[in-house]
């Protein structure tokens, strides 16, 4: 019985003299090898040289600051509830008087942790964020020796003031247009104290 039509008949025929001395076959093989010396090299010499990523590549997260350097995250929990891997946990704190330059709104994330072992880099947190605080970037999560070092806290996630991370490439034209609408509190920078009971 034949299961497929791909079976091959094995032949045990005697090799010819040319085949027996192997030399022509070796020359043929070396010629193929030699020809590759003149071809374009596909290897990228990482980390000296880096491949260009797609604009929407989903790598390590960043917690953005606004133009004044205040943290955008208000610890609303939308990312954590959207996360299918339940990798995000946070604790909220209340902003005190005089901390307006540190935190954008009256509530902020006191701790914010992402377990990079659980994270599947789906980008749903980025999509759920109402404050444009969390973005996935083209950075790759480092390899570590210990499991608990994969739990990234705010020290690793919040962007450094001297090393700002550009995420404009990730934002759709609709989002960028929305950000230019004047009068929306979302787009305003913190200006100072509120006028009490006045328009």
């Amino acid at each position: 019985m034949q299961l497929t039509n791909r079976s091959k008949q094995v032949s045990f025929k005697e090799m010819t003299v040319a085949e027996k001395i192997y030399f022509p076959a070796i020359v043929k093989g070396m010629a193929v090898t030699f020809s590759h010396l003149f071809k374009k090299r596909p290897t990228i010499m990482y980390p000296e040289q880096k491949r260009e990523y797609a604009a929407v590549y989903r790598g390590q997260h960043v917690l953005k600051r606004d133009d004044n350097g205040a943290e955008r995250c208000t610890s609303c929990g939308m990312c954590a509830v959207a996360c299918p891997a339940e990798a995000i946990t946070m604790e909220s704190g209340e902003r005190k008087k005089g901390e307006e330059h540190l935190y954008r709104e009256e509530k902020y994330a006191k701790t914010y942790e992402i377990n990079m072992l659980r994270c599947i880099f789906c980008g749903l947190c980025e999509e759920a964020c109402p404050k444009e605080a969390i973005f996935l970037t083209d950075r790759i999560v480092d390899a570590e020796y210990e499991r608990d070092t994969f739990i990234y806290g705010k020290d690793k996630l919040v962007e450094k003031m001297d090393k700002r991370i550009d995420v404009t490439k990730r934002q759709t034209p609709e989002v960028l247009a929305f950000k230019k609408i004047p009068g929306l509190k979302h787009n305003e920078l913190y200006t100072g104290k509120l006028e009490k009971g006045k328009h």
């Binding site: 929990g77 509830v81 009256e106 509530k107 109402p130 509190k185 006028e195 009971g197 006045k198 328009h199």
Partner: protein, 327 residues
């Protein structure tokens, strides 16, 4: 008295309002409410969310009413015909009401503790539009403390008067109320005097938005990460029946139990609400019924019965039940 709401006829006693009659029929036809509270006398009539169209006043006078009426304040007449969700006019008008309610609302849901159980949020999702046409600065106030347990965010207030009526009717001697008028109206106490009555904490539960929030729960956890269970304890002041919001073994918050209209079933005292934040203080009866579309039921198990009923309805709708009856 016979009244027809959205094509469904119901017999109600004299003196029933249209809203109450609609609620008797069920949640599908009941208009949403922001200020009306069945447990509080004289509440309702401020927010206009519950407007309905009366296409026939009564059998005696079959003329329609000239404009939409507030169903919480309008009593039924015999033979009245009412349209709520079946009237496109009302849906459109309600959208306008939502826009009005949101004129001064800061939309700081990511910060607000009420998010997830906020009636204004639900209303906005269901009836509102994504944009506002309001171009002026919203009125803004600094949040103030009313006593050491309640935080008042006047920005979020929609001036529904529920808290004022609660303080008047549930506690003796109210110390807070509305000052100024019209657009400048705000909830306030005498020089930020505290609400110190034993039942003052109930103003938090009746607030449909996040204007009055529990300071002991302030920014502790978002509601959808906590698990509500019905629990009771022996209390000399109140019935002791409450809803306890757990996170693991920790009691984060205690509120009164709410019925399907999101109204408090029994008001609880401040001692139950603020001072008993240990799991051992409470006898837990079981998980609270939470609507399955609510964000609070996210990641929680459902009532088995609820699931069964749901499945039965689904089967009936698909006609599975009638298979056996076929000849």
């Amino acid at each position: 008295m016979k009244v027809t709401i959205d094509g469904i006829e119901i017999d109600v006693p004299k003196g029933t309002t249209i809203l109450q009659a609609a609620r008797m029929i069920g949640p599908e036809v009941a208009p949403p409410t922001m200020c009306y509270y069945s447990k509080l006398k004289t509440s309702g009539g401020y927010c206009r969310t519950c407007i309905v169209k009366v296409t026939q006043g009564s059998t005696a006078n079959p003329n329609p009413m000239p404009k939409p009426v507030a169903s919480c304040r309008t009593e039924v007449m015999d033979g009245m015909v009412v349209q709520n969700i079946t009237s496109p006019e009302i849906i459109e008008a309600r959208k306008g009401i939502v826009e009005f309610l949101l004129i001064n609302h800061p939309l700081d849901c990511p910060v607000c503790d009420q998010a997830g159980e906020c009636k204004l949020q639900d209303l906005g999702y269901e009836h509102g539009s994504a944009n506002t046409r309001y171009e002026f600065k919203r009125r803004e106030y600094e949040p103030i403390d009313i006593g050491d347990k309640i935080k008042l965010h006047m920005n979020r207030c929609i001036l529904c008067y529920r808290c004022v009526k609660t303080a008047e009717q549930i506690t003796d001697g109210r110390v807070h109320g509305m000052i100024h008028r019209g657009d400048a109206a705000e909830i306030s106490t005498y020089i930020e005097q505290s609400l110190s009555n034993d039942f003052s904490g109930n103003v938090i539960d009746v607030c449909p938005v996040g204007a009055l929030t529990d300071k002991t729960f302030r920014f502790k956890q978002r509601v959808w990460f906590t698990k509500p269970v019905d629990a009771h304890r022996d209390c000399k002041k109140c019935s002791g029946k409450a809803r306890v919001w757990l996170k693991g073994e920790e009691v984060l918050r205690v509120t009164a139990r709410k019925d399907q209209w999101d109204e408090v079933e029994e008001f609880i005292c401040n001692s139950c609400r603020y001072d008993h934040k240990k799991k051992s203080d409470w006898v837990i009866e079981g998980p609270s019924p939470i609507h399955r579309n609510s964000v609070i039921s996210q990641n929680h198990y459902q009532h088995l019965n609820e699931l069964k009923v749901e499945a039965m309805k689904h089967q009936k709708a698909l006609g599975f039940m009638s298979i056996n009856k076929k000849p």
